[in-house]
Amino acid sequence: MRQLILAAALALFAHGAAAFEVEDDRMFGAGTGAEISVLSTTDTEIFVPLIEAFLARNPTLRLRYVVASSQEVYRAIRDEGVAFDLVISSAMDLQMKLANDGFAAAYASDAVAALPAWARWRDRLFGFALEPVVLLASRRAMEGLEMPRSRRDLIDLLRANPARFNGRIATYDPHMSGAGYLFATQDARQTDAFWRLAEVMGRLNTRLYCCSGEMIDDLESGKLALAYNVVGSYALTRLPNAPDIVVIEPEDFTVTLLRTAFVPKAAVQSKLGGVLFDFMLGPQGRALIDGVADLPPLDQTALAPHLRPIRLDPGLLVYLDQIKRQNFLAEWDAAMTQP
């Protein structure tokens, strides 16, 4: 069945029709046993150590790791019904929507039962890593200025130094990036200062990016001075090679994303999907996720006070509403494009 669906999906892909867009598709392990297929938004490089550790423990298995953007992941599961055994995504809202609409299978294990209540939704959707959404600054560009510690500081800084920052601020384009949209809506939900910041950023011709990688590249090369609302882990993995970049977790609040995973209802090896997820939540998996991917472990007691994890609950569905989204994006566009 899965082969059939895959074949169908590939055929569709080949014709460039509705098939979801795959960024990377790699096979790990040479086992002769079952094959686990994982659909993820996380870059393969970040997951390689974890995958290898998992396969070392389960040498008979093979693991197919497919990377797609969060929108494509959503489409693959919802519209195309492609069979994967575990779906990992940083787009909590889309994951929540998939789970709410019945695309996630029930999964229970000791590991998921130990998760804090805000990091799981029923027995369907589970968080496995925290990702603070941060502000990145270039030391060179900020020379002579104090590093902002909160959104208020940032607004003041931008207002005081329009010349220095004009055209050198970046953030996600919420039209293109699901993550960017989620961060912006969470910001808007948490503070009124967000719209003020958007106004200021719009006046300074903020550049909008689809992806954090390019943003960090441009920050490193000196094209950018500040990057607002960037997934922290991307910056942190590159930090040793980029001494110029400073990671700032805003002290008023730092929106903290949960990387979530679920076993889809359409999974062929749903048991193995669960085994892989339990491994990710286990000590070895956690250490690898924390050490290599630089994702803080999901541990309620260690949660810093300024970190605000986005709760896994149906509130996430609100900003996915088409009218709500249109209104929000219209509002955003108005703030960005100023006469």
């Binding site: 709410n100 609409d101 019945g102 939704w121 029923r122 939900r189 709760r311 609950d313 149906p314 509130g315 569905l317 609100v318 900003y319 509403d321 088409q322 009218i323 709500k324 249109q326 209104n327 219209a330």
Partner: protein, 460 residues
């Protein structure tokens, strides 16, 4: 199952029934609490769901170029909070779905203005509780109807109902466990009066036919009444039978003596040998009948008097000598020597003198009857260990193996007595008197030939 049979134990049946009642109540408690909790949780959840739906409907606005829908993040968060329920919504304007899940089932009947209508409907892979709110907004030139649906799965509600019902089930099981010893105790206390009554009736002697006057609970009064009625009827029937036998015997005896006298006269006057033989055998038959009647009368008397035993001081020596004297003529007639051995000192016992005399008369009569001519019948009076004993020895044919028990049965005679007239009641009477007076009676063969019959009575 045995407890349900009519012949099974009442106590087990009662305990079983109490336990069944406890179990039924526990189960009823579980279901009552379950449905009540379910309804209460549903009402609470409906209130929240209705408020959320109403709030969304109220905040719907149409601007010049767009429709503003304000789905509040907090509202959605809260709706899902109770049981992490799934949420679905749909907003229709002018009959067209503008946002949300366009296949979420609408209500059958359109809800009244702004009052939420609740209904449960299957949706996707589950069942959802939906609140529907209708209103109208002005778009362009005129009012357009708006329908807002918010649906919610009810895992939270089910969880609350389950947890409450489980607690109720625990309480129910507790009640049941408590009911086991309690019902055992109560069954025990219910049956105590019955047991006491049974003991009181069981303690009575074999001839005690008085009414039962034991205190008993009201519920036992019918049983007690029936028992007493039965005892009274039994007593009546017994005394009637005895009276009847006595009267019958009496009525038979008198004409029999007339027949006998007439037969004897006829014998004396007849010369025909054949007739004389017939007459003699007739006299023998009449004699036997008279004797039987007399013994029946005696027996009835013994039964009657031992029922209503009067106990007076009796001198056994005196009674024995009187009886011996009375039998002197009979003994002489049969050429048997009747000897009484023992002191002349009085041997006192307590009892009915008529009963004792009747017993002795039967003993002596038997001894003489079975004694061959020219032999001796000895009546020995003795006393040992507060027991008085009258022993009658004869030199007759003995018992030929029959036991006391055999020979004291009514209408039972020894196997070696064919030629001697007898009713089979004599020794029965002796034995009954012995029992009535709390004494003993025993028959033994004498080694030198003959029988030894001894009647023992307690000394006063």
């Amino acid at each position: 199952m045995k407890a349900f049979l009519p012949s099974g134990s009442l106590r087990a049946k009662l305990v079983m029934q109490l336990l069944v009642v406890a179990a039924v109540l526990a189960v009823a408690l579980y279901f009552t609490v379950r449905s009540t909790a379910d309804r209460a949780a549903e009402a609470a959840q409906d209130a929240i769901l209705g408020a959320a739906t109403t709030s969304i409907a109220e905040q719907l606005r149409a601007t010049d170029d767009a429709i503003e829908v304000d789905l509040a993040y907090a509202t959605f968060s809260m709706l899902g909070a109770m049981g992490q329920d799934r949420l679905f919504y749909r907003i229709d304007i002018g009959g067209e779905t503008v946002t949300g899940y366009n296949d979420l089932p609408p209500p059958v009947v359109g809800p009244a203005s702004l009052a939420p209508e609740f209904y449960t409907s299957p949706y996707l892979d589950t069942e959802v509780r939906i609140a529907a709110v209708a209103r109208s907004i002005v778009v362009g030139k005129g009012p357009v109807p708006v329908l807002v649906l918010v649906g919610q799965t009810r895992q939270g509600q089910a969880a609350i109902a389950d947890s409450l019902a489980n607690r109720a089930a625990l309480i129910g099981v507790g009640f049941f466990v408590l009911a086991v010893p309690l019902s055992l105790l109560s069954a025990g206390s219910v049956f105590n009066p019955i047991n006491r009554l049974a003991e009181a009736v069981g303690r009575r002697g074999p001839r005690d036919l008085r009414s039962v006057r034991h205190p008993a609970p009201r519920e036992l009064a019918p049983l007690l009444g029936a028992l007493n009625g039965f005892v009274a009827r039994l007593r009546g029937a017994l005394s009637q039978t005895e009276t009847f036998i006595a009267e019958a015997a009496h009525h038979i005896r008198t004409p029999l003596s007339t027949v006998r006298t007439e037969a004897e006269i006829a014998l004396r006057q007849s010369d025909d040998e054949g007739t004389r033989v017939r007459l003699r055998s007739m006299i023998r038959g009449v004699e036997a009948s008279a004797r039987s009647a007399s013994q029946l009368l005696d027996h009835a008397m013994v039964l009657y008097r031992s029922d209503q035993l009067e106990r007076v001081e009796v001198d056994l020596t005196q009674v024995v000598r009187n009886v011996a004297r009375a039998f002197e003529p009979t003994a002489e007639l049969r050429e048997v020597y009747l000897v009484v051995l023992g002191d002349d000192a009085p041997l006192l016992t307590k009892g009915d003198p008529l009963l004792i005399e009747s017993a002795l008369r039967n003993l002596v009569d038997n001894a003489i009857k079975y004694s061959p001519v020219e032999t001796e019948v000895r009546i020995v009076l003795s006393q040992a260990d507060s027991t008085l004993r009258v022993t009658v020895f004869d030199q007759g044919r003995g018992l030929s193996g029959a036991t006391t028990a055999d020979l004291t049965r009514r209408f039972t005679r020894g196997g070696n007595v064919g030629d001697v007239v007898g009713s089979g009641l004599g020794l029965t009477i002796v034995a009954e008197v012995a029992v009535a007076l709390e004494g003993t009676f025993e028959l033994q063969d004498v080694e030198t030939g003959g029988t030894c019959a001894s009647l023992s009575l307690p000394q006063l």
